[in-house]
Symmetry: D2
């Protein structure tokens, strides 16, 4: 047992020091395949095999993909895996088929964030020598822990007397809400009876388990582009069509979309830019923003109103506008009965001292595509929270996980799987 | 001569104490007709005879017209004139035809403003007993003086050896930019060779004469109406379509119409209103506003952009909008050669100690319709400024004219007319 | 029993035909006192006796109060009651003290709305001859039914073997959220152990009862006033300080106050007005608006941000601003245990075919002041919904109640009171 | 004479192929010093000697300066000049002192723009082999011609029988309005009796001369920075302070600063940016913008209002803001008497077929600092326009000059100087 925990920690640290952003998880995929080899799971789909390619969202430019591929090669990634991960497709689906029984699945995500990791001594990865080796990128949301937990659960299932089919999904590109839909639409999970997904932290301390996280906000991330006409701002101010004026009108009125009686909504104009010089009427401006809703319908309400605001903000200033969806995810709810199983198991798991039947996420997740797909095919799905003390918040340079939570995660999830067949 | 001056002052004071707003100048028209009788000018057109009815703008409701008509009757207006002033048409055109010669015209305006006159002792009309008898209305722009000067000039022309045709227009509804176009389009001034218009004050002191006022801003006054859908703001906030949000977006973006390189522009959202209760999403909102331009083209630039802003502000909030023109006037320039005549005459006029060839108005005037019409028919037009010390600014409760300027106005204008045949 | 129902219906119709707005319920108060006399309840407080005068909100001008007082006198209101209702204070608190036992209270509200009632034959009050006799005002929210139900409950309690103290509050000025706080702060309900409040309709059909309505949004209604400086919009555009530009910036940014993660919020700029003429830079503008929150803290978040928006919108355009609170109410929750009693009773009440333990109001109510006060003094409070088929929505000209619900209301409430001692 | 023209063209082409941006004119300065050597003018100030260092504006970062310095060295710039041009100071002032007489000065500017030059065959520099060698930078405003004309005039003055002092200023950093003030405040032109400045093109064709360009708009370029607080837009929307909302409110209200009755104003939010991710409440945002005025007072009106808008837009959204001036220039007028001299000379100059006494620039220029300085010290100044056919507009990739205008410029300016002593 201790060996296994040490291996889990070592794997998590190795992954932590090799963070790769969405769709660029070449080294990570290779490292996972190594673990599958070690455990002896031969049945696996890699990259394009588990993705409906056209359903991927927020895929970076070819040059970026190529750069990360080379970087992975330099860091020792396997050539066979690099070959398999073609065309901006990463991730692995491992399958254990063993006798009759239901199909149970676990989904973990594996990508990192474009955040520069803290270097101070009080940040354990810095102090412990496993800080990010890809400067400017960081596992600041715990996906390194997720992948390690996934490997741990797989090992536990293989060693148990499990009967049925177990599928373990190492999903790429969650941070950009880019991978969930592509996996869902590939159909590889259509036969799943019970789906578990897992996330560490979420402001829950080590020892606390949330059996069924809910309150996923449906989300749409978009880029609005305004196209006007430049002119010299001193000499010909009225000859221009000012894309920045359009942007400003849009931002103001996006936030002014009326609240909805049916539930929570969100709107954010997260990144704006426009114009080329102080003395030129700006010709082009963009808003990268997002809308969310407590339900998919509420997100769609916001989305339709946002499109209209952008269109009319442009028209008002003589500009053209277009809105492109960057990423999207529905809302979802954890299944209470499946959550009950997790809740029960957690009660028997060493290290767990607090159990919640449910708690809201308050954010978005593309696991909802998978949950939705499984639920629509008649299965159940629950999103499990494994508490971990984290010094900094998610998505901050000082985020870290309490490694004691790795074993708790493995135990709770493998314990639940054990009850599901 | 002294008699004549006294009569001029008395007439001006009588008019001052009977202010009537645009299109309601019933008593004023009657009083002017009395003067024409006294002077012996029989050839006159009244009300509908000098107006292209459908070209009138900003005509008040029938009930308002009727109320002022009754008030005029109560104040002693002649029944024959009240009969002539039918259907919201007021004003007089007096014509003196005498031998061969050019057609020369003078235009004065006769309406008052919805302003409550000052009552303090330092306000001469209050102290002198000729303060407004129509509470809430006031000759706060000197049109009482204009009408008196017109009568004085007519008397002078009649008594001179003038040969040709002299037309004296007492124009209604200048303050709402409502009458000029209707007179122009009636064609009654189409044969005019030389048109003079006159305004007292304009920040020029008594003794100063401006031979050719210019810089008239073309103007369009409009009412924009936003129609949305009401809903309970607490219970169904998203079910409404908020006309006040549309109004706010419109006001902000109307002012944000880009300046124009070709010259001065103006925009004002002068009167706004909308909504019915704090807890109801507003269903209806209106903006009464205006745009102006140093040239008619600049006004049209502003006008087109304003229409677009209103349309898109509405669309942005799911509302409908319409824009109605309330009043409009083109820009115009005084003819330099005609102004030269006035300039020369002013040099010989007692009481004149300062002459300007030109000066900008900085506002709008519907005399521009008449000037434009005459100029397009091959005639000349100039807008003459007769300085007068005025304690309060134009359109304020303490506005007053220095009555010494009445005679100066009569002398300069009749002197100029004398040189024009 | 049938007599009593007929009397109930007759009373409701009498009240329906005499609608009086907030703080003007002179005739209504008098009519209620008549009923108390009939039933024989002498212990009563009227008007100022039950109101902390300085805590009243949204009191109309003295002249309005006087006008409605005269109208009530003309409609036959009692002189003694008119005398008691001094200084803009209306309403009655009837008390039945009978032996030992708890203090139980029922609150009904009595004011009407400034809405013109429908005249069509399919509108029962019009067809039945009890349409509003105060044109422009209407019982469009069922407070006529509330008052009648109150009288019915009082009669039932008096005739029962109730032991303890029963207080029946006929509260004025609910529609403007103006009376609840004043009653609460007067302390007349501080000894109450169990408080019931009642509302008919709320989209629940006849036969449905909601044992504990919740989801009251805390609310603040305010008037923001912007004071700038007028100037001629053509001649001196930059000399003005434009209060309408400030208003527009405020409206846009009020709606753009960020959503809150802790729950629902609302904002509305319900009534706006500003300016005096199309060609004058507006000197003054006002917004009558409101903010709400699912909790009082959320309402206060919105309120603080709104104040800041108004202040800076003014500053941005060189104007001064002030914000005055017109009315305010906290959020509140019905007590589940008290609601359980109502729920149980409803199950035994003839005519009730649907029971809900709770349902959200989705609006605001100043009963929350009373509920909050009682709860803070250690008592319980529940807000009971009595379903009634209503053809038009609340606050619309065709609103009406199904008079069968009057008896249901009386039975459920008096039944619950019977269990509370 | 033909030799001289050929040399002029060659020099202009050499400069054209070595464009350097503001404050980076190392090679250009060196090249000019070479010409001074050739002509034999030893009396010269370089870089820091002619600049009040602290008055320079818009100086690039040290690294940028160093990079251009190295590039200049690589292109053959003289080490002695590179040494002299220390600390971000470039430019030359050449002085010819010869006998008694007035001090006459000519100012030309020498910097290029960050524009990528056209490569098509119809663009003469591309076709003729002297297209920009510094990719991304271009002499797109004719300063290459200005510097060449300056050298030509110097040569002409030296060869003439001029008596007095002649100062020739090769001014750096005009395009960023960054150098004029620093030269003015250094005092090196304080003794100048007659200052000429020159610009080619400005939409005037080859053969047209403007004796005294006017209508310089005073300008202030600024950077406004908004600092808020980031937060997760889904999970904690109200915890953030949104700098992009502040930016949007500022842009809308900057454009909504009221027009001014005293003359033309301008405002532009030329470059905006803010935020880091679609799902993060933006913490920081900036506007690089400008205001202008027909007079310095009008620019200051706009500038004060802009500062207030920025401050309150920030406050409205709970952010902090600061505004930094990037560059600034006053308005100025050419002296009519000095312009008359140029006008007369132009009449006698071969190749000149059209003369204008004056014409408006419609833009801004930091020559106004120099003109203002000379005028305040009792001298005269005129800004001379030398027409040149230019296929593309100023500041576009296809701008080019008609090289015939080089000789015209030299002849007109040296001719005028000849009359000024």
């Amino acid at each position: 047992m201790d060996d296994r925990r040490e291996r889990l920690v070592a794997l998590r640290r190795d992954l932590h020091s090799h963070p790769e952003p969405a769709w660029c998880e070449y080294w990570t995929t290779s490292r996972i395949v190594d673990e599958l080899d070690r455990i002896g799971v031969e049945n696996r789909l890699v990259g394009p095999e588990l993705l409906a390619g056209e359903a991927r969202m927020a895929v970076p430019a070819e040059a970026t993909l190529a750069e990360w591929r080379e970087r992975a090669r330099g860091a020792g990634a396997r050539e066979d895996v690099l070959d398999q991960c073609a065309g901006g497709c990463t991730g692995v689906l491992a399958t254990v088929e063993r006798g009759d029984g239901p199909t149970v699945a676990l989904r973990v995500d594996i990508d990192a964030l474009p955040i520069t990791e803290a270097e101070t001594a009080d940040h354990a990865p810095a102090d412990g020598g496993f800080r990010s080796g890809n400067e400017g990128y960081m596992h600041a949301c715990g996906h390194d822990a997720h992948a390690a937990i996934g490997v741990g659960v797989l090992e536990a299932v293989v060693e148990s007397d499990f009967s049925g089919t177990f599928k373990l999904l190492f999903q790429p590109a969650e941070e950009v809400i880019g991978g969930g839909r592509a996996v869902a639409e590939s159909g590889v999970l259509d036969d799943v009876d019970q789906l578990l997904a897992v996330h560490v932290g979420l402001d829950h301390p080590t020892g606390e388990v949330v059996a069924g996280v809910g309150g996923f906000l449906a989300v749409r991330q978009f880029e609005a582009t305004f196209r006007g006409k430049s002119a010299h701002a001193g000499g010909h101010p009225a000859a221009g069509r000012d894309a920045v004026q359009a942007l400003a009108a849009a931002v103001q009125n996006l936030h002014a979309i009326r609240r909805h009686e049916d539930g929570a909504t969100r709107v954010n104009a997260g990144v704006v830019s426009g114009g080329t010089a102080t003395n030129i009427v700006p010709e082009r401006a963009t808003i990268e923003g997002e809308v969310r809703g407590e339900t998919t319908a509420l997100m769609e309400y916001m989305s339709e109103r946002a499109d209209s605001v952008v269109e009319h903000a442009a028209g008002m200033h003589g500009c053209e506008a277009s809105v492109e969806t960057l990423a999207q995810a529905p809302s979802a709810e954890s299944d209470p009965e499946l959550a009950d199983v997790v809740y029960e198991v957690a009660g028997d798991t060493p290290g767990v001292d607090s159990r919640l039947r449910s708690a809201p996420l308050g954010g978005s997740e593309d696991a909802t595509y998978l949950m939705d797909r499984v639920q629509k095919h008649g299965g159940r799905a629950s999103y499990v929270g494994i508490g971990t003390d984290h010094p900094g918040g998610h998505h901050t340079p000082t985020f870290d996980v309490d490694e004691r939570s790795l074993a708790i995660g493995v135990d709770v999830l493998s314990g639940a799987i054990d009850r599901l067949w």
